[in-house]
Amino acid sequence: MAKSRSSTGRTFAAHAILITWTVIALFPVFVTVINSFKSRRAIFADPLALPWPEHFDLVGYTTVLKQGDFFGYFQNSMIVTVVSLFFVLLFGAMAAFALSEYRFKGNTLLGLYLALGIMIPIRLGTVAILQIMVAGGLVNTLTALILVYTAQGLPLAVFILSEFMKTVSDDLKNAGRIDGLSEYAIFFTLVLPLVRPAMATVAVFTMIPIWNDLWFPLILAPAEEVKTITLGSQIFIGQFVTNWNAVLAALSLAILPVLVLYLIFSRQLIRGITAGAVK
């Protein structure tokens, strides 16, 4: 793109707007993070004071690290999130491709069926799900969580991906067909790489509720060895007294892995991925 195409005025305005919203977006995060480095007294005495130097207090973090196996929790969260994400993206993309690429009887109805899942909070099915897991001996395993999150993420993934798959040029898929690519090969080697931005988007949307979910870890896998980070942080939320330093510290730490995942996915949002494909 040419610099002749960007006017200084407009660039300035763009930055002004973005900075404004960035400040709005980050201010509460900033408040959270600075306060995670303060003692309770300091938090409430002056929530906006920087944790430096006299207010600086690592008590939140030391509490977190003392209590429970936080690295283990991180690891569990990571495994659950990444594995679920993998299945959601794989199965979701496959189903979305089938729905958007082929005309077959019941296509729309099946699409609607797959979308039902986003219309009812999955919490309602808790007891039945727990029964399934008990029957399958999966209680207190990460597998149980992965299964639930995979199922939970699929509707949205199918919904969004099928929309994006429709924008992949027919000529391109046809070129693949002529090249003797099977439908599977067309999906995996042509379509998937071209909907990378959409896949990344879906990955991000799917990952956040999984990472932050409290409910299913609490119900399906509350045991110490399989605790997730979100569940682990809950220990500091008491009936009457909440240990805000520790909660803030734990949850501030918990932002980092998702942030890293987000950064990885958002790198897939590349401009002009389909450029040069067709005339």
Binding site: M1, W21, T22, V31, M94, F104, G125, A128, I160, I208
Partner: protein
Amino acid sequence: MASKKPVRWHIAVFLAPAVLVYTAIMIIPLFGTLNLSLFNKGPDGVGFVGLGNFATLFGDPRWSASFWNALGNNAWFFLIHMLVQNPIGIALAAILSTPRLRMAAFYRTAIFVPTILSFVIVGFVWKLILSPIWGIAPGLLDIVGLKTLFAPWLGREEYALTTLALISVWQFVGIPMMLIYAALLSIPDEILEAAEMDGITGSSQFWKIKLPLILPSIGIISILTFVGNFNAFDLIYVAQGALAGPDFSTDILGTFLYRTFFGFQLQLGDPYMGSAIAGAMFGIILLGVCVYLFGIQTRLRRYQF
């Protein structure tokens, strides 16, 4: 288009994993639960009551008052998202997709960070910021000389819901932004270049070229917002508790359902009435989704590039 006659097994193969996992872990449990809405505890144990629970929900003035209150609040919650979150998300995405914009990745990440946060933090930090006691919001308003505008928003019936909706907008604006951004990226550069040549630049380029091309994505975010909002629960729950105070002014279908289904404090969970509420919510959302799928989506042309 491939030909029709031979059995196209690949379609089944593509669909099978998703359909199986989804059906087993989601649909069967969920509909097993929704099925409960047709039963209730009678004097002689649990029995089939047909639509009796729904009759209670809509007929009994206490239930129906709560329901309509929650539905009305929910509609307002949704409206704010549609009018504030989505336009802001689209605008931010449009600005971010300006070619050669410096620090775009930073902005994008920054704007998305709130979406990553857990509700516990969001609830805590906004209550802290908006608290009349600890002085952040009043202090900031004081700096710009608007201190008089301050009110304990979360505690006032007339403001609480709007305030929470705006917090939710703050948190989730990253989602429409990401989706629209991805959609904008898939517009070929050449088309935008042609527009540049035609003198269609800046905002008119957005309105006349980009917007029509991303309409399907806007349709998607609208329906996702709709579904998401009518299923919303967590933010209200962490900020105002399950009773959605003050005086139920922030009660939405999600909190109403939670209280009823799982119980709260001394209130015991009532899976039967709870399922009836869930059934009603499901009906509302399904209606919306069908309107979208059959009424709107088919009309939004998708363009292959």
